[in-house]
């Protein structure tokens, strides 16, 4: 039944289907589109213009087939258009590809000194427990550095071998304890303070000594403060500073300004008490001295020794930092080599 007219339409359709395979990009797509659909000379356009020559009986069928082919051609062209447009955009992005493995442009961010970091960390832990930070002079009267701490003139700790003297009654403080006395002189209990700062001892510099170092000392004097509170506070502090697994142990010792006195050990952070080189196989590392405030001290600051009790402890900031980060020579803190500083 199909007439010559419709046969021609179909043959254009077949030609279209054949040629579309070889369309490769947006430019050839444009040519392809014009060949079939251009308003003046497109093969399909021309066929449609012929509709009036088609015999009337076939005209309806011709029209239907022609429109069907045209619609199909347009949808094919649209799909191709999209496909090639995407491909072109992708190609443009591909040309912009970077070697992302090259280094980033980093701003050089400076580092706080490790001792500042440790001091701030310690301050923050104690502040969270309600302590106030205090400080005092480094060039200190012997009264505050010694006498008022129950270290009389005859005590060997006052030796010029160990202490830097400025005058008969002036020294470079050998510990931060004078701040405790100065604070107690200023106020009645409760006294709840932490004193970090520089201290000086005439030790030749080696891996574990420097003639200047940093200490922090804690003092709590109030009604009802006991040795058990000292234990609890030390345990809490060490868990916060070294990590929740850390255990704290006290051993009896002797200091002039506390009684009972105790050395404080923490479980070795490197081996978790299994024993290693750092803790000399003992599982424990000595970190500070502590004790119940010797009631004799209250006489110097006019506190009622029957009413108030307290505890005090103090440690080296270098030692705490060194222990946490396995720094094996505390002189590194004062060399200020950037290869050291930039690790923290």
């Amino acid at each position: 039944m199909s007439s010559e007219w419709i046969g021609q339409l179909r043959s254009i359709e077949q030609q279209f289907d054949r040629e579309r395979e070889s369309v490769a990009d947006l430019r050839s797509l444009e040519e392809f589109k014009n060949r079939y659909l251009s308003r003046k000379s497109g093969l399909l356009t021309l066929q449609l213009q012929n509709v009036r020559q088609v015999p009337a009986a076939e005209r309806a069928e011709f029209g239907r087939v022609a429109n069907e082919i045209k619609a199909k051609a347009e949808s094919v062209l649209e799909a191709l258009q999209q496909k090639f447009a995407h491909a072109q955009a992708d190609a443009a992005l591909e040309r912009e590809r970077l070697d992302v493995t090259l280094p980033g442009i980093q701003r050089r961010i400076g580092h706080r000194h490790p001792l500042t970091q440790a001091r701030q960390a310690i301050e923050d832990i104690f502040i969270s427990m309600g302590y106030t930070v205090e400080d005092g002079p480094e060039v200190e009267k012997t009264y505050y550095n010694f006498e008022a701490l129950n270290i009389p003139a005859s005590h060997p700790a006052r030796d010029a071998k160990d202490t830097f003297y400025i005058a008969d009654d002036v020294v470079l403080r050998t510990h931060t304890s004078p701040v405790q006395v100065r604070t107690m002189e200023k106020m009645q209990p409760p006294v709840k303070i932490i004193c970090p700062g520089r201290v000086y001892r005439r030790d030749a510099a080696d891996a574990t000594h420097t003639p200047m170092f940093h200490q922090f000392e804690c003092l709590l004097v109030d009604e009802g403060i006991t040795f058990s509170d000292l234990k609890g506070t030390l345990e809490r502090f060490h868990k916060q500073f070294f990590g929740e697994k850390t255990e704290t142990r006290l051993r009896p010792s002797h200091f002039q300004f506390t009684e009972p006195s105790a050395e404080v050990d923490v479980s070795c952070p490197f081996c978790n008490r299994r024993g290693c080189r750092v803790c000399k196989q003992s599982g424990w590392i000595e970190v500070m001295g502590s004790g119940v405030v010797n009631p004799r001290l209250y006489g110097f600051v006019n506190y009622d020794a029957n009413r108030y009790t307290g505890f005090a402890f103090g440690g080296g900031i270098e030692r705490y930092h060194a222990l946490k980060y396995n720094v094996n020579d505390i002189q590194l803190y004062y060399q200020n080599d950037i290869r050291f500083l930039e690790q923290f």
Partner: protein, 670 residues
């Protein structure tokens, strides 16, 4: 203190091995330093705290061990056999200064035979690190290690007049001690003298002349008690520390003197033969009363946190030989002469804590009162540190000590704090500025291959009469090094200036620069200051020279205390609702016209709509005369009320250009 495990067992039963014992005594305050095998014995090295001289002996340690394990102390047993001749008839002892010598016991042994010690004795001493000399000398050392009481043996025939006089030395008296050193004496020093001259430094070291030698036949044994302060002072003055002085200066047992004397005499008889003359010459001017201390029961709980059973407390006191008597309120104890550390109630509480065990007390948190806070200003100091970190500065921490010559180069007018006893000639004063520390640190790092450095130190400086914190920045090399992405950007004056400006602006401080009062360590053409608050610039080349810097070094000194004080709080400025208009001008100025003048002149045009003026290009040469330079400036106009019209903007432009032309002779470039 070195302790022989076998020797210790002579005085006390020990249910554990040496190593376990060491760990156990650590928990009563005798920290174990080491425990090493020595033949069939073990030697424990225990750290005895300065308040416990009674533990500087095997007997003293045995007493602590007995208190731990509940075993009974056995004192050394010996027999003294005397001849009828009285020691007091042969020799005499006098104490001239009873304050410095509280007791002096002497025993006389005639016709001894000096020779080597038997092997068991020399070995025992050797295990404790004591060199064997001869039988008599070894016995005195042995008794000291056993009972803690230092002894001395004189060759009695060399004592002039067979006399012992304990007295202060006379001015310029001399004594050659056992170590062969001639000592110059003075009246602060207590000596043992014979009829004519000093023969020993009391409590420290004997003299060479009266030393026990192989030919010695008659021995005078000394067992005395000397004043701890006097011994300590003499030992320090002469720079000597001996086993004897170590014990005397901590405090020995005055009651032990005669027992120790008998013990040594008996051993000499046994090991060196001889005849022990009758009686101890015991000069004991004032026998001190034993102190009594009362302990209130309730104080135990108040100090330690929990009560301790009465039975436990009594048992601890008994085992420590404190002879406790229980009362309704608590206990009264009698302090034995060997416990020089026990003086008050708190001391007894310590004994309870120690022997009951510190681990027996629970861990509690103190009742919470008050609130915590940082030091005043510390929050802002932390902001300063954060700002400097963000700007790329590493913080350094240097010693407070410094070299006076070096400090004076920078701050010549400050009277420094001088150390009386510095450790080295390089560190005799406290620093007066942070500059030497900074330059030394830059040098240290440059010498180790670093090139691009930005550092700061925020710490104290000191002068005679005070100390204060201050801040220094130091930098050299590149701000950003060359990379695959961009060329290097050198750290220069303007990088430093920007960092100082950032810091001041963080605290809302307006930066008003001047270039007056230039310290001579700054480059005269590359320096600026903000009042007393900040000084910064390039280090003067002649000051850089001693440090051998091969690149320009920049310093900024900032008075941190002033910075913290000048900080003000500020309030929100409304964000403009209408757009601004930017206009660019290129102008020619006479050389020497400062940018600050140009900026100020634009301000003087009196246009409130000018919100920003910025230079963006500067050319020193071009199509214009050599006497001029070209500066390009952008100006932003903005109104808070409306969008500006073209006509208004052009009017502003004209006004500004006219002002610059009139005041500064500027020419607008076409």
């Amino acid at each position: 203190m070195k302790i022989s495990y076998n020797w210790l067992k002579e005085f006390i039963d020990i249910p554990v091995d040496a190593r376990t014992l060491g760990q156990r005594v650590t928990h009563v305050g005798l920290a174990l330093e080491s425990c090493v095998e020595f033949g069939d014995d073990w030697v424990l090295d225990l750290d005895v705290t300065t308040n416990r001289p009674d533990c500087l002996s095997h007997l003293g340690i045995a007493r602590e061990v007995g208190a731990i394990y509940g075993t009974v102390l056995r004192r050394p047993q010996f027999k003294v056999t005397e001849v009828s001749q009285r020691a007091a008839d042969v020799a005499s002892i006098t104490i001239d200064d009873a304050d410095l010598c509280g007791r002096y016991c002497g025993r006389y042994i005639a016709r001894v035979k000096i020779g080597p010690s038997p092997e068991w004795l020399s070995k025992r001493l050797e295990s404790l690190g004591v060199r064997s000399i001869n039988n008599v000398a070894d016995i005195t050392n042995y008794v000291m290690m056993e009972l803690g009481h230092p002894m001395h043996a004189f060759d009695a025939d060399k004592l002039g007049g067979r006399q012992i006089i304990v007295r202060r030395a006379e001015v310029d008296e001399r004594l050659t001690t056992l170590d062969g050193v001639e000592r110059r004496l003075d009246p602060s020093i207590l000596v043992i003298a014979d009829a004519k001259k000093p023969v020993a430094l009391a409590g420290i070291m004997g003299g060479g002349e009266t030393e026990i030698v192989p030919s010695t036949t008659n021995v005078l044994l000394e067992s005395a008690w000397f004043n701890p302060l006097s011994i300590r002072k003499t030992a320090r003055t002469l720079g000597m520390t001996t086993e004897a002085s170590y014990r005397f200066e901590r405090g020995t047992d005055i009651e032990m003197a005669s027992f120790a004397c008998d013990r040594a005499a008996a051993m000499i008889q046994e090991l060196a033969g001889g005849q022990l003359l009758k009686g101890t010459i015991d000069i004991f001017p004032r026998k001190p009363e034993r102190a009594r201390i009362t302990l209130r029961r309730e104080r135990i709980e108040r100090v330690l946190g929990v009560p301790v059973d009465d039975a436990i407390v009594s048992r601890i006191f008994e085992r420590l030989e404190l002879q406790p008597a229980q009362t309704a309120q608590g206990w009264t104890v009698e302090v034995p002469a060997f416990r020089v550390d026990l003086a008050g109630e708190q001391d007894l509480i310590e004994e309870i804590a120690r022997h009951h065990g510190l681990d027996k007390f629970p861990s509690t948190m103190p009742p919470s009162r008050g609130f915590g806070s940082l030091l005043p200003g510390e929050r802002r100091v932390r902001q300063v540190r954060d700002t400097l970190s963000a700007a790329g500065y590493n913080e350094i921490c240097t010693y407070s000590f410094s070299n006076e010559q070096m400090e004076r180069r920078f701050y010549a007018d400050i009277e420094p704090v001088r150390l009386r006893n510095p450790m080295t000639e390089e560190a005799t004063i406290l620093r007066t500025s942070l500059i030497p520390g900074m330059l030394t640190t830059l040098q240290w790092n440059l010498n180790r291959g670093a090139r691009n450095l930005q550092m700061y130190e925020l710490s104290k400086v000191y002068w005679d009469g005070g100390e204060r914190r201050t801040l220094i920045l130091g930098a050299c090399g590149n701000l950003r090094p060359a990379s695959v992405h961009e060329p290097p950007r050198e750290f220069d004056f303007f990088a430093l200036k920007g960092d100082v400006e950032d810091l001041l602006q963080r605290f809302d401080i307006p930066v008003r620069l001047t270039t007056d009062n230039i310290p001579n360590y700054y480059h005269p053409g590359r320096f600026a200051r903000v009042g007393h608050l900040a000084m910064f610039g390039e280090l003067h080349p002649s000051y850089a020279e001693p440090f051998k810097f091969r690149q320009r070094v920049y310093l900024a000194e900032i008075d941190i205390e002033l910075l913290l004080r000048s900080s003000t709080s500020h309030q929100l400025e409304q964000i403009p609702r209408y757009p601004g208009v930017r206009r660019d001008f290129s102008l020619l100025f006479e050389r020497g016209t400062q940018y600050a003048t140009v900026h100020r002149t634009i301000g003087e045009a009196g246009i409130p709509e000018v919100v920003r003026v910025e230079p963006f290009d500067r050319m020193e040469s071009g199509p214009f005369p050599d006497t001029k330079y070209s500066l390009s400036i952008s100006v932003v106009y903005q109104s808070a009320e409306r969008t500006l019209t073209d006509v208004e903007v052009e009017g502003f432009d004209k006004k500004i250009i006219q002002r610059l032309e009139e005041r500064l002779g500027a020419q607008l470039r076409k």
